[in-house]
Symmetry: C2
Amino acid sequence: MNAHGITIKEIANLLEISSTTVSRVLAGHARKYRISQKTEELVRETANKYNFQPNQVAQQLRLKRTNTIGLIIPDISNPFFANLARMAEQELRNKGKMILLCNTNDSTELEKETLSLITGRQVDGLLIAPVGQQGEHFKMMKGTPIVFIDRYFRELSIPYVSTHNENGAYQASKYLIKKGHTHIACIQGLMHTISNQDRVNGFLRATAEFHLPEEQVNLLGDNFSIENGYKSAKILLEQEDPPTAIFALNNQIAIGVLLAAKDLGKVIPDDFSLISFDEQPYFQLTSPPITTISQPIAQIGIEAVKMLFKLIDNEKVENQLISPELIERQSVKAI
Amino acid sequence: MNAHGITIKEIANLLEISSTTVSRVLAGHARKYRISQKTEELVRETANKYNFQPNQVAQQLRLKRTNTIGLIIPDISNPFFANLARMAEQELRNKGKMILLCNTNDSTELEKETLSLITGRQVDGLLIAPVGQQGEHFKMMKGTPIVFIDRYFRELSIPYVSTHNENGAYQASKYLIKKGHTHIACIQGLMHTISNQDRVNGFLRATAEFHLPEEQVNLLGDNFSIENGYKSAKILLEQEDPPTAIFALNNQIAIGVLLAAKDLGKVIPDDFSLISFDEQPYFQLTSPPITTISQPIAQIGIEAVKMLFKLIDNEKVENQLISPELIERQSVKAI
DNA sequence: ATGAAAGCGCTAACAC
DNA sequence: GTGTTAGCGCTTTCAT
């Protein structure tokens, strides 16, 4: 009996029976193999007495199943991914799986490295929010079930579940237009990411559909950061004919806009209106509370896990884009 | 060559050499065992060609080391724990370990269950933020190195690294007093948790040290939730002689206070001052920005990992309480 | 109703 | 320089 507890073999020796029998009892197969009452009890007692825990590493090797799912995300300290992780963990726990957590820090290099580290660990499947620039390295993963979450690659055949970003951005833009805004600026994030592209597309579809004059539709920015939001908002608000509304493509950008407004002495929504992608708990605490497009995080988590299990069971799956919801607060004024 | 890639034995068969030699080369021991240049190259080539990844489950079983650390926390969607997880993951990755993530949802029941699930997985060590009510079940974990983070048990001999809560609360209270406040209310969280007890002690030490009249020192609340903050703040602000300053013992409580103030039309810091434990990014965006006691999350993560490695190496460790820092903003007025 | 033996993929002690 | 062999702890086929 080593540091990790007693083994099946040791129990067998103690009782002078075979390890096969012990294994059968402890695996709950006593009935199936018609093990005698007496033997069964004896085994159970001894196991309890020594607090037996099956060595899962041995099981994993033998059964070629680890009951482990890799969760590869850019950054667990981003509330969006943290919430996703929580949902996924809950769902997976119910199905007897545990999560191996890996941050990629938004680096494709780290993502590649992580991928090879984690395949060695024989995970049963992978939930990945890819960094997004380039997805060639995922092609090496044939054989491991993968579901992409939040971001994905159109050209890869790996299934995904994500927010319907185009639709969300369209909703937000249409909302501004319906409130009477005709001069709208959109501050975007990283341009080559699919979420940014889709959001921009939704924005442009709405402005086109309602025939906003082209020179009154601004698109600027290049990064999902507070700095970019701050910088871009300053440019916008300091120009001679500033937009009456700003659409921030994520919560970090919105924070930047808020800080810029504060610095310039601009009051929301009197001086300009603001709407943001990414619901965050603090958006109801700012003044004014910010109207947002809320991503369906819980649903994404639940659906992604469901999909992964189908994949593991060799069933067919279909990509899912879940439409987000507009949460109306006080940062948009009708004009 | 199954779904998970080629094995050492298969490479050996292919090259008609022994698996020992292959293992040695691939483990980087070619030099040590004076394997011939030619053999080494051959092995390397074949391994690359078939994209060999050592089966870590087999390694783990053989070496009785999983290079896996369990991280057991109440809730990954709480930014405090998410940030802690991020730091820990980073540190552990540098040392070749991965994290198995488990949420306990603040339930001692789930915590117990998790503990036995995870011991079967033969983790090399455990980083635990215990739920806190009761710690008897940790005594069963003899043999597995454990470091408690954030919360701990005085009566258990398991080492911990945490915020110096008493000191932080003392700093906050003293700050209020130095600003001229003599009528101060403290809204506390779960009373049996050690963090709450320590924070309350710090508060009481300061008020005693500066001889605040007893009837002007209020302590109320019973929970680390927004609701409790809201409810308690309402009680305080509606009484005929309300306190001039409120000390919220965590960020959730502070949010509740903010919401209550809004509902009652009270303006901070004109109507009352507010200081809160737990720095959060959105506290600089509220109006006014909130003065907080910022917990040393990064340090806790780094130190906890360091400590865990010492434990694994059978070295002595010493408990650590790291003092938090006061971040001054505009929610406290001098009177 | 129970057991012997093989094997999951890897490493290491001990040969030669 | 390389190979043989045993074994980590478990499950399972095949016997009896």
